[in-house]
């Protein structure tokens, strides 16, 4: 990065470290923090939407929809996360490629499964073999986001479903007595009050989501855990201009600080959010705030 780094062998002490920490590889390491933050930023709203949909479905008056919502939450909650993370991307990838194969190559006579091989026609590949590597990485990332969203959506659905049931019945009955339609009651009374009951559970889920991000590494995406292991491993002169011993412990310590920082920050944000949502609510926290205001 700097011109003084041209000959790492001549460097010592601080300048060696400065050059070492600004190699292209370390910049990729820094970039991978962005990957993790992006995963959180995309997954959280998608999972929340899925959870909201799942909770609505589970409360639905339509029996098939209700079953769908209940089966979804029960199924995902009953299977270890990692099984889903391993299953969903592969199943989605092969399923999509199979469908594309059927549409794009109707004349293809060879079987798709040959022994242990899964081979679709070149035009059905996702992404195409000729696509640049970044497209493959984005595709893998999207599959990972979908897997995360399905799993965390199910947990969120359960939390939101419980929160909806926790809203005092008297509130809903009063709304009814005022002549609100069920839709109006739902929109104006149930949903605004539900959040305060859902928040502790959702906060918990968010924390678990933060801590689950290293699963990206299991899915073969170059996240912070991948780079920490790669950079921390001992390096000989052939492989790097900055040979060093086993430094994994320092790199993993950086990750530890990152995750602690993330969760601490989240706690602070959620505490503020909880205060805001409790304001004027018929809950214990809301009642205490009301008394304090007097």
């Amino acid at each position: 990065m700097f011109s003084s780094c041209a000959d790492p062998k001549a460097l010592e002490g601080l300048s060696w470290f400065l050059c070492y920490l600004t190699t292209g590889k370390h910049l990729l390491f820094l970039g991978s923090f962005g990957t993790v933050l992006l995963l959180l930023a995309v997954t959280a709203p998608v999972a929340l939407a899925l959870g909201f949909g799942g909770a609505l479905a589970a409360r639905s008056a339509l029996a098939p929809l209700r079953w769908l919502g209940r089966v979804y939450t029960a199924m995902v909650r009953g299977v270890p996360d990692i099984v889903f993370f391993l299953f969903v991307p592969i199943a989605l990838d092969q399923g999509l490629e199979y469908l594309r194969h059927r549409v794009k190559c109707p004349d293809w006579t060879e079987p798709i499964r040959k022994g242990s091989d899964f081979v679709v026609c070149p035009a059905a590949k996702l992404p195409l073999s000729s696509a640049p590597e970044w497209e493959h990485q984005v595709y893998a990332f999207v599959l990972a986001v979908i897997a995360f969203a399905i799993v965390f959506g199910a947990f969120a659905a359960n939390v939101i479903h419980g929160a909806m049931n926790a809203v005092p019945k008297a509130q809903l009955e009063t709304a009814d007595a005022y002549g609100m339609t069920p839709r109006q009651t739902f929109r104006r009374i149930l949903v605004p009050q539900m959040w305060v009951y859902a928040l502790p559970g959702l906060t918990n889920l968010w924390m678990i989501l933060i801590k689950a991000t290293p699963l990206l590494f299991v899915l073969g995406i170059e996240d912070i855990v991948y780079w920490a292991r790669e950079l921390g491993g001992s390096k000989t002169t052939g492989a790097s201009a900055y040979p060093h011993g086993d430094w994994r412990v320092y790199y993993f310590f950086v990750l530890l600080c990152f995750y602690l920082g993330m969760t601490r920050l989240s706690e602070m944000v959620f505490a503020r959010l909880y205060r805001r949502l409790s304001h004027g609510q018929a809950t214990l926290a809301g009642e205490q705030m009301r008394k304090a205001d007097k």
Binding site: E97, K114, T236
Partner: protein, 248 residues
């Protein structure tokens, strides 16, 4: 008219398939210097990178490199995430049941033990990378096998005393021993196992196998492959020599 268009399309398709422009995705682990590693710039580098690029040039293919963990490198090949493996993978009958190999591009070479002391107990706890021929060999010798996901972790296990010795390709261990300031040393005798290193391909890809076999033969014939082996693995390493030039 319809048949004309179909015929033209078929012609265009077959033309596209035979005249290059095909992109081959090659997977490697990127954690096994000097075979393959990630250099300071974050790019895939090493003997196999250089060899693979040269083979692709000779075969008139466009090649793209992909990083993949060692333990899922074969499953992801058969599910067509990429088309070839070049990751210091030895040709073995077990692997040939699942994937196909080109002819070897590194002749059968020695594996060796490395320990803190030259008289280390080679029947004790021996570290090896999971799913390698070395791990298989250790299990056969009756020693206790400690498996690790990456080669680097196997060496770290010896350094911190978790394992009595590590068993891996000698070419991989050489530089580590040389630069350990006397901390590490070779122990016992080198063992010749495996059928050399080849490029892994899907069994259904017979055409690609023929293409790469031809390219490897041409590099064996003009001696450029031997030169590359010496460049990366040192003067002492085994080369194909005159034997590789048979049938040129």
């Amino acid at each position: 008219m319809k048949t004309l268009i179909l015929g033209a399309a078929a012609l265009a398709l077959s033309a596209g398939m035979s005249f290059g422009a095909e992109t081959i995705r090659i997977a490697t682990e990127g954690a096994y210097p000097p075979f393959n590693f990630i250099n300071d710039k974050g790019e895939i580098d090493g003997f196999e990178r250089k060899l693979g690029d040269e083979l692709c040039t000779r075969a008139a293919l466009t090649c793209e490199w992909v990083k993949n963990d060692w333990d899922s490198i074969i499953p992801n090949l058969v599910s067509s995430n990429y088309d070839a493996i070049m990751a210091g993978m030895s040709i073995t009958p077990e692997r040939e049941k699942v994937i196909a190999f080109t002819q070897n591009y590194i002749p059968p070479a020695d594996s060796a033990y490395v320990a803190l002391k030259a008289d280390a107990n080679l029947n004790g706890n021996i570290a090896a990378q999971t799913s390698t021929i070395q791990a298989g060999h250790v299990a056969e010798t009756g020693a206790t096998l400690l498996e690790f996901a990456t080669a680097d972790e196997t060496v770290a296990a010896v350094r911190n005393g978790e394992a009595d010795a590590v068993f891996a390709d000698r070419e991989y261990l050489q530089k580590i021993v040389d630069e350990s300031n006397g901390e590490l040393t070779f122990a016992g005798e080198p063992v010749a196992i495996g059928g050399g290193v080849g490029m892994g391909l899907r069994q259904s890809d017979a055409e690609l196998k023929a293409t790469f076999d031809k390219a490897i033969t041409s590099m064996k014939c003009d001696g450029s492959l031997d030169k590359l082996i010496v460049e990366y693995f040192g003067e002492k390493s085994k080369v194909f020599g005159e034997e590789g030039k048979q049938g040129c």
